[in-house]
């Protein structure tokens, strides 16, 4: 379970998160929607401590992420993350991209790491690309590679930060399908997304961000069918 309490985040004097309270139980798929600059990405970065926070707390399975004594490198293995820019490691083949962290972070042998990587690449539909360098992969394939790379650490939670926003339209589908597959397998997921259909079809809940606060959080039916907040109504009418 991820528990966020009273989270506040500043960049200098700019307050980006203004007191976030959010609980994500195991197995839930939560989508986060909201205008650009409302703090969605920042929230994800605060969950796995890629950003420091100024007030409040984030707990993952009871462990305070931002506490001094926390072994953050161990904790991050529980929290897979996929970014808007896929950030494939260009000097490594697809297989090596995925096998690297299991080997150096988890201490698996070369052969074990290879097996894990091959399995995860198959999982995301890249079984035929094991020895290919990222430069020879399409954006969609690289993003699926990034998903496989995160899954190879056997995370219990997956954080997606607009995983499809940087993709050409015709490549969005394959990545969303992979995310759907994970959701069906019961992965706990927090997905920042602009794909409203995905948010509606796949999520258990949808959170609407507005200027650093969660203005509305509810089932997809309620969020998309009967939005209460004025900002959300406006946001939805703008994107339709």
């Amino acid at each position: 379970m991820i528990e966020i309490r009273g989270l506040e985040k500043y960049f200098g004097t700019l307050q980006v998160l203004k007191g976030i309270d959010l609980t994500v139980p195991k197995g839930e798929v939560l989508s986060i929607i909201g205008a650009s600059g409302s703090g969605k990405s920042t929230l994800l970065y605060c969950i796995n401590a890629l950003e420091e926070i100024q007030a409040g707390s984030v707990k993952v399975d009871g462990t305070d992420v931002h506490a001094k004594g926390t072994d953050i490198n161990a904790l991050r293995q529980k929290l897979g993350m996929v970014f808007q820019q896929w950030n494939s490691f260009p000097h490594l083949t697809a297989l090596e991209n995925v096998a690297l962290s299991p080997r150096i972070v988890k201490g698996k042998t070369k052969a074990e790491a290879r097996d894990i990587a091959a399995k995860q690449l198959e999982h995301v539909g890249l079984a035929d690309k094991l020895d290919v360098y990222p430069s020879a992969l399409s954006g969609g394939q690289q993003q699926r590679l990034a998903i496989a790379r995160a899954l190879a650490m056997e995370p219990e939670y997956m954080l997606f930060d607009e995983a499809t926003s940087a993709l050409d339209p015709e490549l969005v589908g394959e990545v969303l399908d992979t995310m759907r597959l994970l959701a069906e397998e019961g992965m706990t997921m927090i997905c920042v997304t602009h794909e409203m259909n995905f948010a509606r079809d796949v999520s258990d809940r949808v959170a609407f961000f507005h200027q650093g606060v969660i203005e509305e959080i509810d089932s997809p039916d309620k969020i998309f069918g009967a939005p209460k907040s004025e900002h959300l109504q406006k946001f939805l009418s703008n994107i339709r």
Partner: protein
């Protein structure tokens, strides 16, 4: 060794061996200086990159000094003043120290550039997988940044090899010094300098070709 009577009459086969030996000493002093300079330079580059202001404020200007004062002045100053602080180094080690520091001051900038070439999101992705700061440096920043600045590093290394000729002012008999000695004896400066130049070329050409082939392998 007593020279033969044909000593003044021109170049002999043994003189070529003499030059060859000197070329080997050029290789030796260059390889050692470049190795030391590269290791130090990467550490300096990392300090500059991390930009802890105190370190950057003192290290930056210091490296600027070594980069901008002509090597020949640094060599002579160091060789003559080192004994005053109790360092009695022979010409070879004096040369290694100065060339090494000079090389480090150049590599520091190259290394910092390499680290800057690895994007922040890339490094965040590495950290998000559970890699520690050092694992990120070792497995992501070093190979990606290293490849980005490899050509510049080769340029620095070849430059240092050529600059190693300056150590001759301290009396270390490397390629240039050996040529001068032979010129004094044979009075055939053009021939001997041509041969010495060919030696320098023969040393650096394979390196730059090899470097180019490595680069090509990386980009394909």
């Amino acid at each position: 060794m007593e020279p033969t009577i044909s000593f003044f009459s021109g170049l002999q086969i043994s003189d070529l061996w003499y030059l060859m030996e000197a070329a080997w000493r050029t290789v030796l002093i260059s390889a050692l200086s470049i190795t030391i300079g590269t290791v130090l330079g990467v550490v300096f580059g990392w300090i500059l990159y991390e930009g802890r202001w105190a370190a950057a404020l003192t290290l930056g200007p210091l490296l600027d000094v070594f980069r901008s004062v002509p090597l020949i002045i640094q060599l002579v100053l160091f060789y003559n003043f080192a004994p005053i602080i109790g360092l009695n180094l022979d010409p070879f080690f004096s040369g290694v120290v100065i060339l090494g520091i000079y090389c480090a001051s150049l590599v520091a900038n190259v290394a910092r550039g390499g680290m800057e070439a690895v994007s922040r999101p890339m490094r965040r992705a590495a950290r998000s997988l559970g890699m520690s700061y050092w694992q990120d440096l070792r497995y992501i920043v070093l190979p990606i940044g290293g490849r980005a600045v490899f050509p510049s590093w080769v340029g620095v290394a070849l430059g240092v090899m050529k600059d190693s000729a300056l150590v001759s002012v301290l009396g270390y008999i490397e390629l240039l010094k050996a040529s001068q000695i032979l010129i004094t004896r044979t009075q055939e400066p053009l021939l001997i300098l041509t041969i010495a130049g060919a030696f320098y070329f023969a040393l650096s050409y394979p390196i730059s070709r090899y470097a180019a082939s490595i680069e090509k392998r990386w980009t394909s």
